[in-house]
Point group: C2
Chain length 335, copies 2
């Protein structure tokens, strides 16, 4: 049985998809050395570069956020597999500069291992690089050990906030501080109605019964502990929003930026209905959802689910989220 996917040879998925992405957005990005996506027009060398790494299969993440105002480069692995340290080092070398590099690492074992190795090698070569770990998944509980807190799509608004600081000409320590401040007040929780198919081997990466959903499912089908019978949109939104609000210790009078990130087959219709309920829940808590995103930023193949990303923000961060950017999947005209 062939998979119900528009693909060619499974071993060529990643290079083919990256070539397609670069062909569609030639004004914004280009592909180097096969698996490094960089800006079509590089940022000035006296500004901090922002780089990330991650497996393919989650498009548009992460490469779709390379461009003015966000990432300088994305170093891509194979499907659901981190790039190796040598590939990442090649990416870091391209951006060696006195201003330094901020490396954004999502908390998954392979990514962390490649990042740690590449950072050591880079430092030996005199490349100035500082890393920041995104581990905003709360499915294992807010006090879970770090290994149980995965990096989900919260990295994407973080790229935006850090990217704005870098474009402004802030130093590496300042860009890091801006990113870390944002990082401390974001929390993400995923939910899935269906699993999905690994596009290389055709195997399901998670399975759910016909009447089941699961809150907390990870980006590769990792269990999240929240399996239940199917709930309504409002019930699902309420359970998830309250858990996230608790995790970030949301207080009356605060402002939030909310992202409903579709992971595949979930319709923007459904995500909008979920967003509506969250805005109501926030209002009941005396909190304002100032704005947000309802879109696919980081997918898990055709999984029918979404990630809810709650970011508590101040006016400066709202400004950064709206600062000018020009990437394939997050463009802002600026304020």
């Amino acid at each position: 049985m062939k998979m119900k996917k528009f693909i060619n040879a499974p071993e060529n998925l990643t290079p083919e998809l990256l070539e397609g992405l670069a062909a569609a957005y030639p004004n914004k990005i280009k592909l180097e050395e096969g698996k490094i996506v960089v800006r079509a027009t590089p940022k000035a060398e006296d500004k901090v570069a922002i780089i990330t790494l991650g497996g393919a299969g989650h498009e548009p993440a992460l490469s779709g956020f390379v461009g003015y105002g966000m990432l300088d480069a994305s170093v891509v692995g194979d499907i659901f597999a981190a790039p190796n340290a040598v590939s990442l080092l090649a990416g870091l070398r391209k951006f060696k500069r006195d201003a330094g590099i901020l490396l954004v690492v999502l908390n998954h074992a392979g990514d962390v291992m490649s990042a740690n190795m590449a950072m050591k090698m880079a430092e030996r070569e005199g490349i100035k690089v500082k890393s920041i770990l995104v581990a905003e998944d709360i499915s294992a509980g807010i006090n879970a050990p770090i290994n149980d807190r995965r990096g989900l799509a919260g990295c994407i608004p973080l790229f935006k906030v850090a990217g704005a600081a870098a474009e402004e000409g802030k130093s590496l320590d300042e860009v890091y501080a801006v990113a870390e401040k944002f990082n401390k007040r974001i929390a993400t929780l995923a939910v899935a109605m269906t699993g999905c198919t690994h596009p290389q081997n055709g195997n399901p990466i998670a399975e759910l019964a016909e009447d089941e959903m699961e809150i907390g499912m990870g980006q590769h089908g990792e269990g999240g502990g929240g399996r239940s019978k199917i709930m309504t949109a409002d019930e699902t939104a309420t359970e998830m929003f309250n858990k996230l609000a608790n995790a970030v210790e949301l207080k009356a009078g605060e402002k939030v930026f909310l992202v409903i990130n579709g992971t595949g087959a979930c319709t923007p219709m459904e995500m909008s209905i979920v967003f509506r309920k969250c805005a109501q829940l926030a209002e009941e808590k005396g909190v304002k959802v100032v704005q947000g995103i309802i879109d696919e930023l980081l997918t898990v193949q055709e999984m029918a689910g979404f990630q809810m990303i709650l970011c508590v923000v101040d006016d400066e961060q709202i400004k950064a989220l709206n600062a000018k950017s020009d990437t394939p999947y997050w463009t802002s005209i600026g304020m």
Copy 2:
């Protein structure tokens, strides 16, 4: 059996999703009279307004393209159902102006009927309005009668091109001419691997066997005549691109803007692989794919498929496609 969708009461789908959309993008849009999406900041009255109409369930279309540089308003029906003429008239009344209104109508029976009735009523009230019909689907053949040529997602780049002309202050006749010139050289063909579920009644709106796909399937599961065994991405892209190229009489030396519009569960990974092949096919014909979009612009619930939209463009149209816009789902920083 409950549907695997995050919804509440089926009869509230449309108002709830529109409220959610407005809550996420308050800087760009607002909701009026329950089912009319307008810009948060209106366009100056001395410029031509651009309005469209259509059923819900296809998010982000059509309301996601309201904002600076594109639509002034989207008048929304219920799921897969055109708004009635009275609703549309209410939308037209809001934009009564000496500069006039361009009404973009997708060729579906209900939309056309509402548009014709509302236009007559509007004209009686002295509202200046001119309509343009988008019917760029080629699944029935390029010489098929107009009733068999549906309006698909080609309307969205058309909104962009017409929107840019309107922002420039062009007259209604000029904006119409710009839109009609673009309209003449676009063609769209859809493909699906799976059907999808009607979110109000839970019924499948199309069904495909486990080893089948269908080229030409319409936006509501309408048959397209191209049922076959599953093909590879490259085979699918080749068949579709060649048909589209033939339909628009693509010639060496011309430039194209290509959109791969995901209709639901098709991953951006797959769509990028398809885009890559199209860019190669174009090159073989001596044609340059200058840029494009790989994204969900108009969905058909969770259908695993895409629409390929080929737009033959000149430099002025490329400029219009890149002119400044600020809508929830198509933002450009301008050139």
